[in-house]
């Protein structure tokens, strides 16, 4: 492979990592609280609020039901408003985040829901406030599962960055399409696949190791 292609590969990897990390961060910062809200406002939750729960749930599902490629295009005006342009890596971070937030919100919701209600009750019985229930019980007890779900989200995002190539986001997927597919440079395609496999494997293994360290349930 030529030095030029190696350069391209490095640059594309960097772009993919940037897009994944930035939208991953967004999914954590916004998706986790939304997941928490979905759990605490549910009937029988720490803070039941049926209407909030219903509205939030509907909104989350609405965004999740739009295929990413459509979201990408539909959000162009919004993206332009936020980052000033609708093309390029930073522009792609907006639709990626908008897709990742509800995705991780639902994953986090499932993790948080699995926390034994007996633990919530025990902390309620010791005089814990609602905030204490969230901070001392729901989050720490669900933490291993929340991390595992976050790894799944990141890996899904890596895949989504390839689609973001459609709006000139760059990244590995874009490289594979432009060189590997359109210019018939099969070795570029292969190199991209190898890098993707490496990225996903490192993420997954690293995530698994972290989860194992956090999880004291057995």
């Amino acid at each position: 492979m030529s030095a030029h292609l190696l350069d391209l590969l490095l640059k594309a990897t960097g772009e993919t990592l940037l897009m994944t990390a930035a939208s991953g961060l967004a999914s954590l910062v916004f998706g986790l609280p939304i997941g928490l809200l979905l759990v605490v406002t549910s009937p029988g939750g720490v803070w039941p609020a049926p209407w909030t729960n219903r509205v939030l749930g509907t909104l989350v599902d609405a965004f999740r039901s739009v295929p990413f490629i459509i979201l990408l295009v539909a959000l162009i005006p919004f993206t332009r408003l936020v980052v000033g342009t609708s093309i390029g890596t930073s522009a792609a971070i907006v639709p990626l985040s908008i897709a990742a937030i509800p995705y991780y919100a639902r994953i986090a919701e499932v993790s948080l829901r699995e926390v034994d209600s007996g633990l919530v009750e025990a902390v309620r019985a010791m005089g814990g406030s609602r905030w204490a229930l969230v901070r001392e019980v729901l989050v720490p007890e669900a933490l291993p599962s929340l991390v595992a779900g976050f790894v799944v989200t990141l890996i899904t995002l890596i895949g989504a960055t390839a689609i973001a190539g459609a709006i000139g986001a760059g990244g590995l997927g874009d490289l594979a399409i432009r060189y590997g597919y359109q210019r018939f440079q099969t070795e570029v395609m292969l190199a991209v696949v190898v890098v993707l496999i490496l990225l996903v494997t490192i993420l997954q293994k690293g995530g698994d190791a972290l989860v194992a360290r956090l999880d004291h349930r057995r």
Binding site: G118, A122, R124, A125, G127, P140, E141
Partner: protein
């Protein structure tokens, strides 16, 4: 601390004296779930230092009752007072400081799995806003109290059931509560571990003068550590009283049913031979309490009437330091001493005496 295994049935020590002021007062408490009354007009008082046992069939309302004491369940009617303060109408936020005065232990321990034993014990203190150094120091002391001083860094999954419940007890005591609630705290433990946990609870009750309300389906638990017992049936108080009295002489049919397994019964082969026809030997069941339980009853019968009685079955146990006996005796009335005289003699000595029937040939 060195906890001795406890031999069920021979415990003689009494719970801490219970003449203190009321810690819990329930007046006309009712709670419905849909059409079903889980609690129906329950009135009762628990005084400082008392260990109250709550028994009843499954679904009788025991858990509902105990959960009303810390506001986890809200009654539909009636008043719950804790240390004189009405809690039934407090908001969730107003209940929080109240609940810090009340510890609770659970059947499945309910320890945070991703927190160490020390962190679990320190949690109520953290919630009460106590600084980290101080709460870890307290957690150390409490783990010491429950005999786990060397396991503070262990996670619950690394502890046995009994050890987990000790952590649960240490946690419940952390905020120095006035009242300890226990819902089936020993039901997931084997008999020996149950004995050790009861010993620990009794020790805490005596040393700290802690008031305890405990729900259990194990009658042995009540016999071992309770001073008073409440029997619930369909959400109503069917019977209530000192443990030794209720166990020795249950008044409500439900109480007798619940306690049946603890009380000696006539062996089936003997029971099968009982008839209503006079003749042969008469079989009596005698329940005796206190000094009467240890008196030489049969010798006295022989001395007084000149007839021999045979002890068929039964035993004496000690509940709250009081001997409680149930004996099955067979006597042959003689021409000089009729059955009525013997029955009158037994009735004068026993709390209850029942003529169960007659056996023709000696059993």
């Amino acid at each position: 601390m060195n906890v001795q295994p406890l031999h069920i049935g021979t415990a003689g020590s009494e719970p801490a004296a219970a003449a203190g002021p009321p810690v819990v007062e329930l007046a006309g408490v009712s709670k419905r779930f849909g059409a079903r009354a889980a609690l129906d007009d329950v009135t009762l008082t628990v005084r400082r230092g008392e260990v109250l046992g709550i028994i009843g069939r499954s679904g009788a309302g025991k858990s509902t009752l105990i959960r009303c004491l810390n506001g986890l369940e809200r009654p539909d009617a009636g008043e719950v007072r804790i240390e004189g303060r009405a809690i039934s109408r407090l908001s969730e936020r107003e209940l929080q400081p109240m609940r810090r005065r009340i510890g609770m232990i659970f059947q499945h321990f309910n320890l945070l799995a991703n927190s160490t034993a020390s962190e679990n014990v320190a949690l109520p203190l953290k919630i009460a806003g106590i600084a980290k150094a101080e709460r870890m120091r307290r957690a150390g002391e409490l783990l010491d109290l429950v005999g786990l001083s060397d396991r503070g860094g262990a996670y619950p999954a690394q502890l046995s059931g009994g050890q987990k419940q000790r952590v649960g007890i240490a946690r419940a005591l952390a905020a120095e509560p006035a009242l300890l609630l226990s819902d089936e705290a020993t039901s997931a433990l084997d008999p020996e571990t149950t004995g050790q946990i009861l010993e620990l609870l009794r020790d805490i009750n005596r040393r700290l003068g802690l008031t305890v309300a405990l729900v259990t389906h194990e009658m042995e638990v009540v016999r071992e550590i309770a001073s008073r017992v409440v029997v619930l049936e369909n959400g109503r108080v069917a019977e209530e009283g000192e443990v030794w009295r209720v166990f020795a002489d249950p008044q409500a049919p439900i109480t007798a049913t619940l306690l049946r397994s603890l009380r000696p019964e006539l062996p089936a082969d003997l029971a099968a031979r009982l008839t209503n026809t006079l003749g042969g030997e008469a079989v009596f069941r005698l329940d005796l309490i206190g000094d009467a339980a240890r008196a030489p009853l049969l010798a006295e019968l022989a001395g007084r009437f000149g007839i021999e009685a045979r002890l068929l079955h039964g035993g004496i146990e000690t509940i709250q330091g009081r001997p409680v006996a149930r004996l099955f005796v067979a006597v042959s009335p003689s021409p000089a001493v009729d059955l009525a005289a013997i029955a009158a003699f037994f009735a004068s000595r026993a709390t209850r005496s029942d003529l169960l029937g007659h056996v023709s040939s000696s059993p």
